[in-house]
Symmetry: C2
Subunit: 215 residues, 2 copies
């Protein structure tokens, strides 16, 4: 996938200790995130070490703490970046395609998600915050909620249904797709095709049952 781009997501979603102002430091922060992603990919989350991140990113440990309050925040920022890219790519795709059958919208979105799994280092480990938001930083507002809201806004333009019903169903569908695609990538590093197909089947079946055949 090449059209994965960033989108603006509520800024305070990234609780940096200090926002990088100069371009030089912004670049460094990116490097730290890249390093974290690579290391998580290689060693797994809990072998991740601040010293390692710093070394891999080619900076001093102190620099890391210049911007991030703690290790967890680094991973959190990484998930935020992933989320931004995903929402951005979805927006982009939907804009390109114009009004479609929602059937195809589901396919598009899942395909983008698949592409991210395959092309973004560490994505299948970090996802949109499974690790930190749900398990480490428990009561934090769910990253997925941001995603669901975005999708709901997009879909609401094309589907004539009460927004709250849409949001609920999309939330369910999102969770289901999420779980099944993670399963697919757990079974096989490149994503088990049979499970991926089943994921699309389940999601479409659910949405069809809930909303009938609308465009």
């Amino acid at each position: 996938m090449s059209d994965i781009q960033a989108a603006k997501v509520p800024a305070e979603a990234t609780p940096l200790r200090r926002q990088p102002v100069q371009q030089r430091s912004a670049k460094r922060v990116e490097q730290m995130l890249d390093a974290s992603a690579a290391l998580i990919d290689e060693l797994g989350y809990d072998a991740l070490t601040t010293t390692l991140i710093a070394k891999r990113a080619g900076v001093a440990v102190g620099s890391l703490y210049q911007f991030f309050p703690d290790k967890r925040a680094v991973v959190q920022a990484l998930t935020a970046r992933n989320l931004e890219r995903f929402v951005g790519a979805v927006n982009e795709r939907l804009k390109q395609l114009g009004p479609e059958h929602w059937w195809d919208v589901v396919d598009s979105i899942l395909d983008i998600y698949l592409d991210m799994h395959r092309s973004i280092p560490g994505f299948s480990k970090v996802h949109f915050g499974d690790i930190i938001d749900r398990q480490l930083l428990d009561e934090t507002r769910d990253n997925n909620a941001v995603l669901v809201d975005s999708l709901t806004d997009l879909v609401a333009l094309q589907v004539d249904r009460p927004v709250e019903d849409l949001r609920f169903a999309i939330g369910i569908a999102n969770e289901v797709a999420d779980a099944l695609l993670k399963l697919a990538f757990r079974k096989e590093p490149s994503g088990d095709e049979k499970i991926v197909a089943e994921a699309k089947y389940v999601v479409k079946g659910y949405l069809a049952a809930r909303f009938g055949e609308q465009s």
Copy 2:
């Protein structure tokens, strides 16, 4: 839920450094697991500390390492215990009920799962190994696989279908139910009723579509 009982699950599933032989130490190991569960419930997984576990369990840190190779193994053992209890309770329930419509079997299983969420400390955080098997101890064999195999065996007795098809579908259904119930408990500590209902709806809808109306 009161009929949650233990079932024997492949023993090596719990990689203890040393199996407690004397009753005294077996009890202590249980205490350590209880302490871990309570602490995870209260503080979250990453605030968990070996020292804390020991203190809460009323033992010395060294005792912990007498049986567990490392901190991760403690949590892993906790998930194994949860899994055993769940499989045991499911077995028990199915034995009691005798042949039912599979519709009711789904309800029963989800209800047991709900009960565990509500009655077992830390269960909604630890689950059957989300934390360690999937994210920390990556390539470990999935705990859910054990569960799915058990369920498949149980269901195969009552449903006339190729076992592999059953296993696949049950695996999908399990993952979906899992994800949605976790969502329900993320939204509300007691489990969001609307989402729970939707979970049952989705799972039944999927299985019905895949297997048609059989008993």
